[in-house]
Structures are given as structure tokens and as C-alpha cells.
């Protein structure tokens, strides 16, 4: 018998399964659940984009692309950055097309982090940053954001966690799970702290198109920041393309060229069909994005109002498609609340703690659902709150 304890990497074995997973397993056993737990759009990918993929297959475009991605696509990405955040990235050497934002996060962290390096992680946040930092032997250093600051990263909080070993800040805005955003002035203050350091920033802007108050701003736009920032974005959320597995990253060429080596050895090139579809997404889908954004925005207003009326305090988030109501008034922990809610009313929401300790006392509610669905869920949550009084 082989002894797996002896063959498996300690790092892999010690890696904690995502907190979401545990709750997923519970939800799975219950029938008739109405879920507010999903982190992906309910819209189908716009037809034009699907058509472009079909066309490419009909033409037999079924081979690897260039490692960094189709040059036509990189040129469109370059134009996209210029029109959305007003930064010029060279398609030939500053952009890589990746397998989702996920891969971009993975290879950019690995390109930068060495054993012992400290990486600042702004929590609550998406689940993958810490495990990947640990894979590289890095030390995740958590910065907890607070509801009273609308879950924005404050410059003092950042300053307090910087040491000689700090190598990297992962900036996750618009934020999953809180829906928080960072406005230009907030980013200016962060840039002020970082400008004279040797700290890099990975800015995960996968929800950039889903910003409901004014335009999305990237930290790379702020003076002196482009040279120390890797911007990550993708097609999953803004174009409703989660299953296509396509994202992209841009940054200084002296960083990107090393990221590209990791990408090349691990992936070769991102899915070809998806890349052809993505060219059309960037060329001609601004209206579709706007329509989806307007729809999310209506749901956002509805759900924020509904939770506040239920007595679960909920700040009005300005980004992504999540709200993060506070459930402390029920006296329960996040885990308890979610478990009781799903068992008694069959409504699935995700405990805030799945996104970091600072998520305790909150739950993540996704509004990537139709209004009718949201209304039914709210009705059940209202009954639940009534019953536990």
C-alpha cells in the first residue's frame, strides 16, 4: 500500500478547503432550496459572442494561439484599458490573456512572492489569494476592513501592516463579498502610502464594469502607480462568460514577461474558441454590458432596501453583485445564521466568515437573480427573522 502521507506535499495537505465548500455540501443535501449564494451572472452570454465562437469553430480555428493570447484580442484589450481606465498597455509585451482572472491572480502572485515575503490581503475578500500566497511560501498578512468605512481600505490600516518584508498588496475592488468600491480619492490616499516603497500591487478589478456610482477607477491610473501595479480583469462577470474561462492581466513589461513564462509552462495558451469570442465581446458589446448593469442596479436598490427594512443593516454597496448585510442583531454567528436559515426556510446565503474572519457578523447575498426570485427569498428571510425573535 502506498503511503500518501509520505508522498503528498505538506503545503497542499495543509491548505484549507474553501469555507464556501463546506456550506455548499450542506446546501446540496436539502431539496427545494432557493439560493442567493452564487457568484456568477444569471444572464446568458450575449448571443453575438456565442455566435463568434461558433463561427470560429466552423472555420476550424482549433489550434493553440500565441502564448500570450491572440494578438487581435490583446489589441482589443489594450483599447479597452485605454477607454475604461485611460492607461496605455502595449499589446505585444504588457498584456497576457489568461484562463480566467483566477489564473492571472495565480501567476502574478507566484511571479512576485518568495518564501518569507509578506503579502497584504484586504479582507473580507475572494477566497483564493491567501492559499496561493501560501503555495509560494509567502506569509499572508490580513488587513481587516470595516463596515463603518464601507469596507474600504484606509491608508492608516495599510501603513500599520507594512514591514521590511512586505512585498505585495492585493487590492480587491470592486469587492466580493462586500460590494465595496474604492473611489479615486481613496486610491490616491493608498498610492500616497505606497509610492516611495518597493511594494507591488495586484489590483483585482474583475467587477470593474459593475460599478453603480460613476466610473470605475483603477489604482494604476494614479500618479506613479502604473509601474508598480498588475491589473487583473476578465470576461466572467462583465460579459456573463464564467464558463468560457477567460481573463487577462496587464502590467509593466519587466514583470509581465516573467508572468508569461509561468503561463506558458502551465497553460500554453488560453482557450482558443473563447479568445475569438472575446474579440467580439470587446468590439461590440458595450450596450449589452450596460443593459446588464442597469438590471443589476435595480436589483441592488431593491435588495438593499429590503434588508434594511428587515432590520438587518446593510450599507448600499456600489459595486459587484453582492450585498453584505449585518446579522449581529440576531445574536447569531454567521455560520449559525446561514445554517438555520437554510434548514428552516431553504434559503442559501453565504456566511461572511467564508471570506475572512472579519466577515463574522455578516452574510453575503448575491443579487445575480431575477427580481421575482429575490422577492421570494426576502419573504422567506422575513418569516425566518419573525420566528427567531
Amino acid at each position: 500500500m502506498i503511503d500518501y502521507d509520505k508522498v503528498l506535499s505538506k503545503t497542499a495537505v495543509e491548505m484549507k478547503p474553501s469555507g464556501i465548500r463546506k456550506f455548499f455540501d450542506i446546501a446540496q443535501t436539502i431539496e427545494g432550496v432557493i439560493s442567493l449564494g452564487v457568484g456568477e451572472p444569471d444572464f446568458k452570454t450575449p448571443w453575438k459572442i456565442r455566435q463568434a465562437a461558433i463561427d470560429s469553430l466552423e472555420k476550424g480555428k482549433t489550434v493553440y494561439t500565441a502564448n500570450a493570447g491572440l494578438i487581435e484580442l490583446r489589441k482589443e484589450i489594450s483599447k479597452y484599458f485605454e477607454r475604461t481606465i485611460n492607461i496605455k498597455y502595449a499589446p505585444e509585451e504588457e498584456i497576457v490573456v489568461t484562463v480566467g482572472g483566477s489564473e492571472a491572480i495565480d501567476i502574478s502572485i507566484r511571479t512576485i512572492v518568495e518564501p518569507g515575503d509578506e503579502v497584504l490581503i484586504v479582507e473580507p475578500c475572494f477566497v483564493c489569494y491567501s492559499p496561493i500566497v501560501s503555495l509560494s511560501g509567502g506569509v499572508p498578512v490580513v488587513i481587516e476592513t470595516k463596515a463603518e468605512n464601507e469596507f474600504r481600505l484606509m491608508p492608516e490600516e495599510l501603513k500599520a501592516k507594512i514591514t521590511d518584508k512586505t512585498k505585495l498588496l492585493i487590492l480587491p475592488y470592486p469587492n466580493n463579498p462586500t460590494g465595496a468600491i474604492m473611489e479615486r480619492e481613496n486610491l490616491e490616499a493608498i498610492a500616497e502610502v505606497l509610492r516611495d516603497t518597493n511594494i507591488m500591487v495586484i489590483s483585482d478589478e474583475i467587477y470593474s464594469e459593475l460599478t453603480y456610482s460613476g466610473e470605475h477607477c483603477s489604482i494604476a491610473e494614479i500618479d506613479g502607480m502604473k509601474e508598480r501595479t498588475i491589473v487583473i480583469n476578465g470576461f466572467s462577470k462583465s460579459f456573463a462568460m464564467t464558463g468560457w474561462r477567460l481573463g487577462f492581466m496587464a502590467g509593466p513589461k519587466d514583470v509581465i514577461k516573467h508572468c508569461l513564462k509561468l503561463h506558458q509552462y502551465a497553460i500554453m495558451s488560453s482557450p482558443t474558441t473563447s479568445q475569438y469570442a472575446a474579440v467580439v465581446a470587446l468590439q461590440s458589446c458595450e450596450k449589452d454590458i450596460e443593459k446588464m448593469r442597469n438590471e443589476y442596479n435595480m436589483r441592488r436598490r431593491y435588495i438593499v432596501d429590503a434588508f434594511n427594512k428587515l432590520g438587518l443593516d446593510c450599507f448600499a454597496p456600489q459595486g459587484a453583485f453582492y450585498v453584505f448585510p449585518c446579522i449581529k442583531s440576531t445574536g447569531m454567528t454567521s455560520d449559525d445564521f446561514c445554517e438555520k436559515l437554510i434548514f428552516s426556510k431553504k434559503v442559501a446565503v453565504v456566511p461572511g466568515t467564508a471570506f475572512g474572519k472579519s466577515g463574522e457578523g455578516f452574510v453575503r447575498v448575491s443579487y445575480a437573480y431575477s427580481i421575482n426570485h429575490l422577492q421570494e427569498a426576502v419573504k422567506r428571510i422575513a418569516e425566518f427573522l419573525e420566528e427567531i425573535k
Binding site: E40, N176, A348
Partner: protein, 159 residues
């Protein structure tokens, strides 16, 4: 206004209070907007979207294409208005192309509709010819998907 219309089209039973929240307006503003849409004749009424086949499996729905001789004074209006009076007629539209007027008709069964076409529509002097198409199955009506197998393929929980 467009967002308001869209919301009402998919669910006319949303209250003004609910609409106001979703649109970021006050209830009063929403009430005024709706009033205006009604006065301007943009909103003609509020009705439920019914899947007739779910009530009565024999009921039928048909589109009838009419070729019509236009009248010297009123063109097609008079005929179209006349046809609109019948209770079984769901919609009447003047069309460009190979025929002139499209009429949607419901009936308890195929014979009802056939009789209506031969005895009422074909009997109108100005009607030169009719072509009746029975609907076999409805997939989407008034922008609402019915009868679809649109299941949510997403998992229940994802990051």
C-alpha cells in the same frame, strides 16, 4: 422611463413603492411617471400573461393572414377596426409585405377558429383571401418565456 416600462412589462403587479426603490425615485415620482405613460397612451392596460394551454388543453391559437382591398376613404382602418370588435380576436395588425392584416385568434378548438375564419372574416367583402396558421406551441409571449425548460444551471453556492 424605459426602465419603468421594462419592469412593468415583466411584472405589472409591482407596487409603486417597490418600483420607486428599484428605480431610485420617490413613490410620488413613480406614480406621476405611470400616470403620464397612461395619459400618453403608452400604457394601454395591465394584463396577466396566460398560458392558455395550461387551462384548457384543447384551446387553440391561430394567426390569420388577410389580403384586403383598401377602402377609398379609410384605407385599411375601417376593416381592421371591424375585425377588432370580435371577442375571439386577440390582436389585429397592419403588415408590410405579402399580405395586409394579421389577426391573432383564440378558440376552444380548431373548429371554432375555422368557423370564425370562414363565416366572419372571409365574409367581409373587402377580404380577398385568408391563410390560417395554427400555433403548435408557445415558447415566449410578451417577452416572458413560457413552457421553457430554463433551469438555473448554476450551482447553489459559488465563490
Amino acid at each position: 422611463m424605459n426602465s419603468l416600462i421594462k419592469l412593468l412589462k415583466t411584472n405589472a403587479r409591482l407596487t409603486n413603492a417597490e418600483l420607486a426603490v428599484m428605480l431610485g425615485k420617490t413613490e410620488q415620482e413613480v406614480a406621476e411617471d405611470i400616470k403620464k405613460l397612461e395619459c400618453d397612451g403608452v400604457i394601454k392596460g395591465y394584463s396577466a400573461i396566460i398560458d392558455e394551454s395550461a387551462i384548457d388543453t384543447n384551446s387553440v391559437y391561430a394567426f390569420i393572414e388577410l389580403k384586403v382591398t383598401p377602402q377609398s376613404q379609410s384605407g385599411f382602418d375601417e376593416i381592421a377596426n371591424e375585425i377588432s370588435q370580435y371577442e375571439q380576436v386577440e390582436s389585429v395588425k397592419l403588415m408590410s409585405g405579402a399580405y395586409d392584416i394579421s389577426v391573432a385568434v383564440t378558440g376552444g378548438n380548431i373548429r371554432d377558429v375555422s368557423q370564425f375564419v370562414s363565416q366572419k372574416l372571409a365574409a367581409i367583402d373587402a377580404v380577398q383571401s385568408t391563410a390560417t396558421h395554427f400555433v403548435l406551441k408557445s415558447y415566449k409571449d410578451n417577452g416572458i418565456i413560457i413552457n421553457g425548460d430554463e433551469t438555473d444551471e448554476r450551482g447553489m453556492i459559488s465563490p
